[in-house]
Structure formats: C-alpha cells, structure tokens
C-alpha cells in the first residue's frame, strides 16, 4: 500500500480532509464507491464530499433515495460480493432507520456464516450537538455501535485523523463506522497529500501530563485540552487521551497513563448513563485498580434528549467548565 507522498505540509480543514480521504480510496480501489443521500452534486451536509461527483461521476459517487435501511443493505450486499463501498448516513440520528441492517446483518454475517464472507464496508456519519438542531439531529449514539460484536468504530477529531481513518477503514476487511463530528468541520490541521493510514484501535495522547488522565471521545478532546490548560498555572499537569477508536478500544494506552498519573476521568458528549464511558471506567477498575488514588470520574450529557433552545443545549453538552469543576472536586 502506498505511503504518504513526500510533500510540503499543508493545512486542511476537517471537511476537506474527509473528501480527500474518500478520494484516495476511490483512486486506489476500482471496486470502491461512495453512496448516500445527497453525496453527489450537493456534496452532502457542509459539503464534506464536495468535488468527488465531478471527479468520479455518477457511477462511483451515488445519490441514493432517502432510504437508510436500503443504504446500509447496499453496503452489506455489495461488500459481501466484491465491492468496497463507503456508505454515508448523513446524521447519526438517522441510524434508527437502519439499525436492523446494522445489528442483525452487517455485524453478524461473517460470524453466522462461519467466516466464509468478509464485509469490507465503511460507514461514514456525522454526530453530536452544538448547532441547535434539537433532539433528532444532535445525538451521539456511538455506544449503540460499540456494543455490537462484528463492527469497528472510530471517532476522528482532526483533519489528519479523519483522512487517515477513512483510508484505514476502507482497507479494513471488516465493517468500520467512521463517526465524524459536525462542530469541527472547519478546524484545520496539517494533512499530507496522498494515501496514509491512521491505525484503527490506537488512541492518541494529545497532551502529555504526569498528574491526571482525561480520556475523551470525539470533540470533547478540545474541551479537555482547554480544561487542562486552565490547571497549568496551579501546577497540575494533565494528560489528555483522545480515544480515537472505541471498537477496538486502546486499553493499553489508557492503563499506561493511569499507572503514571493515578487519577482519571472519562469525558464524552453522549448521555452519561449507559454511555461508552462506563466501559472505559470498568476496564480501568479491572486493570489498574491498585494504581488509582481516587475513583474514576465520568462526565457525559444528562439523561434527557438533546434540547433545542441555546440556553438548554449549552447547559446540556459537557464542556471545559464542567471538567474543571469535576477535577477540582476530585482533588479537594
């Protein structure tokens, strides 16, 4: 497989990196195609696939009807028979429409068939709140997916990772969900030209620290970094880990960090109750109990649907202020 070509470092938005990732896949694999609602000329929401239709044409960048169950089925059936599809579910909330296709077909087919089929299908989708889009367009439902043996789930939080993870997902012979975030589409990062992979299942230590570990999912990494900065003057050195992948989950990186810091907190945007944070906390308790100086804390959204009004949504989504408060509580 080709590695990143030597090139001048360029700054690219998360949004542009998405379409560049898909572009590399389409260039590399004749049997790859992109299908989803309005992914063609319109380039989907925020224009994340802009330019692909013009470059690859309607045979490979395919507008589908508003039929999510059909879209996932297309990905399952086509990947079982020689294609390497990327199928797009515009907003993660719409997974409700196709959860059977995901749960009972995509996730289990290889196992049920005794390993006689592989499903190299990638599913891209946008998650998260913050744009006042209310209860049905703002959810973080990654825990639904991580609970299903047979699929992989990554949550890229920057332009470099999103491109590399889309490429890695497409090269993987398993179904992989790439759960993207709609609040960070304009964020820039350095992104190499050409194809490169970010390893699925590997967390990223985005801030080194010695005193405290914060493990984050999705864009909460930026809230944690902000919070960590606020403790700098007080001499509390916080390590921030972007989980990046929740299935498989990089337990080792988290445990190694806690062996060093002895204190930990998990932060995600999803509803706290039953969220993936519970799994992380349980793993820490299992594998690093003797290293802990305090119970592991968790921050997630309250147990309600995502509210519309800015005054409520602001109070709903976890943020740096809540993280700071919780860290202080733990140190008190």
């Amino acid at each position: 497989m080709s590695e990143a070509r030597e090139s001048e470092p360029r700054s690219l938005s998360y949004l542009a990196a998405i379409s560049e990732g898909v572009r590399e896949v389409l260039l590399e694999q004749d049997n790859a195609f992109l299908a989803g609602e309005d992914v063609g000329q319109a380039g989907s929401v925020f224009g994340i696939y802009a330019g692909l239709f013009d470059e690859f044409g309607a045979d490979r960048v395919i507008d589908t009807p508003i039929s999510e169950k059909g879209i996932i089925g297309l990905g399952v059936g086509a990947s079982a028979t020689g294609c390497r599809p990327i199928v797009d579910i515009m907003f993660m909330d719409f997974m409700g429409e196709c959860m059977d296709e995901i749960t009972n077909q995509m996730a289990k087919m290889r196992f049920m068939f005794g390993g006689s089929v592989a499903l190299p299908v990638t599913v891209t989708t946008m998650s998260g709140g913050g744009r006042n889009l209310a209860a049905q367009h703002s959810q973080s439902l990654e825990a639904w997916l991580a609970h299903l043996p047979g699929i992989k789930v990554v949550m890229p939080t920057n332009a470099y990772d999103v491109k590399g993870l889309i490429i890695a997902a497409s090269r993987d012979n398993n179904p992989v969900f790439v759960v993207m975030n709609k609040m960070i589409v304009a964020m820039q990062a350095e992104v190499p030209e050409g194809a490169y992979e970010v390893e699925i299942g590997k967390a990223s230590v985005v801030r080194q620290g010695t005193d405290f570990t914060i493990v984050t999912l999705g864009r909460m990494v930026y809230e944690a970094l902000d919070a960590a900065d606020q403790f700098k003057e007080q001499g509390l050195d916080i390590e921030v880990i972007d989980a990046r992948s929740i299935q498989p989950f990089d337990t080792e990186t988290v445990i190694n960090s806690i062996k060093k810091t002895h204190r930990a907190m998990v932060v995600h945007e999803a509803v706290q109750f039953g969220g993936f944070g519970g799994e992380i906390v349980a793993q820490i308790q299992d594998l690093a109990f003797d290293y802990l100086d305090a119970p592991v804390a968790r921050i997630g959204a309250p147990f309600s649907p995502v509210p519309f009004s800015p005054s409520l949504e602001d109070a709903y989504i976890p943020n740096a202020a809540r993280i700071v408060e919780k860290v202080k509580e733990m140190l008190a």
Partner: protein, 327 residues
C-alpha cells in the same frame, strides 16, 4: 361527490394561506438576521396544500407533519405567539423551547408534531387513525410527507397497515420535486407517487398542489371516505418550494434552474387564489388587503412577544423526559 367550498370556506382558506405565507416570510427574515437558532425549512409555495386539507379537519382530527411543518401547524390552528416563541427557543413556546422548528407541535389542535426524521410521520398517523377507530370516534388522521419521504420504509409499512385495517387515514404527499437537493427523477423511478397506492390496496389521487380549490375538493372526498369507514387514500399534491431546502437562500447550490423556479412562481398559489377570489366576487382587493394588514399586525406582535420572552432556565432540562404526575 366532490364537495364545493362555501364562501366561508374560501375566505378561511385564503386567511390560512396568507397566515402561512407571511409567517414563513417573517421566519425566513428572522433566521437571516440570526434570531432563530438551528435549521429552518420553509413552506413558501406549498401553502395551498395545508390550507386545502385542513379546511376539512377539526381540532379532534389529527395530523402528523414533517421538517417543513410550520404551515401545517398554522393551518391546523396554531397561534403565532407560541409558534414564534418556539422557533426563537423561548420558554413561552409551544414546546417550552425544547423542540424548535423541527418539533413544533400542539396536541390541543391535534398537531402531532413537525418531525426531524424524514418519514417519521406516517406510522404515527396510522396509530392515531387506529385509535380513532378503536375509540369509535369519527375522527381522521392525516399524514403529510414529501416525495423524498415516500422512499422510506416507514411510509410503506404505514400505508399497508392503514389499508389493511381500513383506517380513517389520509396520506398527503407534498411532491415538490426534490428531496433536499436531489431531483425526484434521481430518487425514484415513478413519476407519480400516487402510483404506489395501488400496491397497498388504496386509491391514489393526483391533484394540483398549487390550486387550493382542487386540493380542497380532492381532500374532501378522501376524508369523507375515511370518516365513513372506507379506508385510507394517498393524495399526491404536485407542488414546489420557492425557497431553498433550508432557510431562504440555503447553501446557494445550483441544483435547480432559475427558469424552473420562475415557471412555478408564475403559478404562485396565493396570488392565483386571490385572483380567483376577486373573479368569483368572493372578496374585493380591499378585503384582501385588510387580511394582510391584520395578519402582519398579528405577526409583529408575535415576534415582539417571542423576543421579550425569556429563554428556558436550565433547571427544566430534566423535566418531561418522563411523566411523573400532573397531566
């Protein structure tokens, strides 16, 4: 037999069309001024459908709506003040600011919500129709949905069940030729969504959705059938949205031509109806003008009301996730 609208019906439909048109124009302006958070899907161009269908319904009849739902609520008897307050995210809104444009609802007038999920409405309308029949009322439930939504499995399951159980139900497809930015020819192989009715054993009727009289008559017939226990109908209204998918000017995509838009704008359902009303001597231009004056004044008041209303206090966040007493 097609019911002809009375003068009273005609005036009521005109009032509703003007209320919807001016509501949406005002909302669009407010959104462009940054006063309305989130996404706004406007109904301008499609007013004749809501006005024509709703003329046959009482508060006890139910409707389910779509992401493009303001017009349905206005025609069903929604009031401007709590509607605007909801769009503005204020505590005095119909949903206390928790729903916004995509979930605005009012159970008191039988409006079971705008819906952020395309195809979300039809199965719920089937449930309401089932309930109407089960409780031995004479009420009907109407599901509004788009051409794009007619490709969701939910619509097909709902249609089959409604026909199977002969429910007092009406499926109103607002075919505006596009699902977001995808033209109908690229999202389904049929030209007429009404063709799908025969697959479920119910009549499929096509009507000019820019002509409120035509909508009134076709909907009246279908609703009579439903009330008389003869089962559901699929009524396809051919229409067009004058604004973009989201907001007024949207993302500035060139998925449809100016010529096409102009062709449909020339058939503006509101001005066409007004010309008709004058020709039929139902209303004079002066009377029409005073309808606008009245509606505009009410809108100004509603916008003031919304702007002066407080945002909901974060302490209400966990309220109404569950029923815990009260009504």
């Amino acid at each position: 037999m097609a019911k002809r609208p009375t003068k009273k019906n005609l005036k009521a439909m005109h009032l509703n069309m003007v209320r919807i048109r001016r509501f949406e124009e005002t909302a669009g302006r407010m959104a462009e001024n940054g006063k309305i958070p989130g996404a706004l899907h406007l109904y301008v161009g499609e007013e004749a459908i809501a006005a024509g269908v709703m003329q046959h319904l009482s508060d006890e009849d139910q409707i389910t709506s779509t992401h493009r739902g303001h017009g349905h609520l206005v025609a069903k008897g929604g009031e401007f003040k709590p509607m605007f307050a909801e769009l503005f995210g204020r505590s005095t809104g119909y949903c206390g600011g928790k729903g916004g444009s995509m979930h605005v609802s009012n159970m008191k007038v039988g409006m079971l919500g705008a819906n952020g999920i395309v195809g979300g409405g039809p199965p719920i309308a089937v449930g309401a129709a089932f309930s109407n029949k089960y409780r031995k009322t004479k009420n009907v439930a109407v599901a509004f949905f788009g051409d794009g939504a007619s490709n969701e499995g939910s619509f097909h399951e709902a249609a089959n069940m409604a026909a199977l159980y002969k429910l007092p139900c009406l499926f109103v497809c607002e075919n505006n030729g596009y699902g977001e930015y995808t033209p109908q020819a690229n999202h389904q192989a049929v030209v007429d969504v009404a063709d799908r009715a025969s697959g479920y054993g119910m009549p499929g009727v096509i009507v000019d959705g820019m002509d409120v009289m035509a909508v009134y008559e076709a909907a009246g017939e279908a609703i009579d059938r439903a009330r008389n226990g003869e089962g559901p109908t699929l009524l396809e209204c051919k229409t067009y949205r004058f604004y973009d998918h989201v907001g007024v000017r949207g993302m500035g995509l060139t998925y449809r031509t100016d010529e096409e838009l102009a062709l449909w704008q020339a058939r503006d359902p509101v001005s066409a109806f007004e010309k008709n009303l004058i020709d039929l001597k139902v209303m004079t231009q002066d009377e029409i003008d005073s309808v606008y004056a009245e509606v505009n004044a009410a809108l100004d008041e509603a916008v003031d009301f919304a702007e002066q209303s407080p945002y909901p206090d974060p302490s209400v966040l966990l309220d109404d996730v569950y029923w815990v007493g009260g009504d």
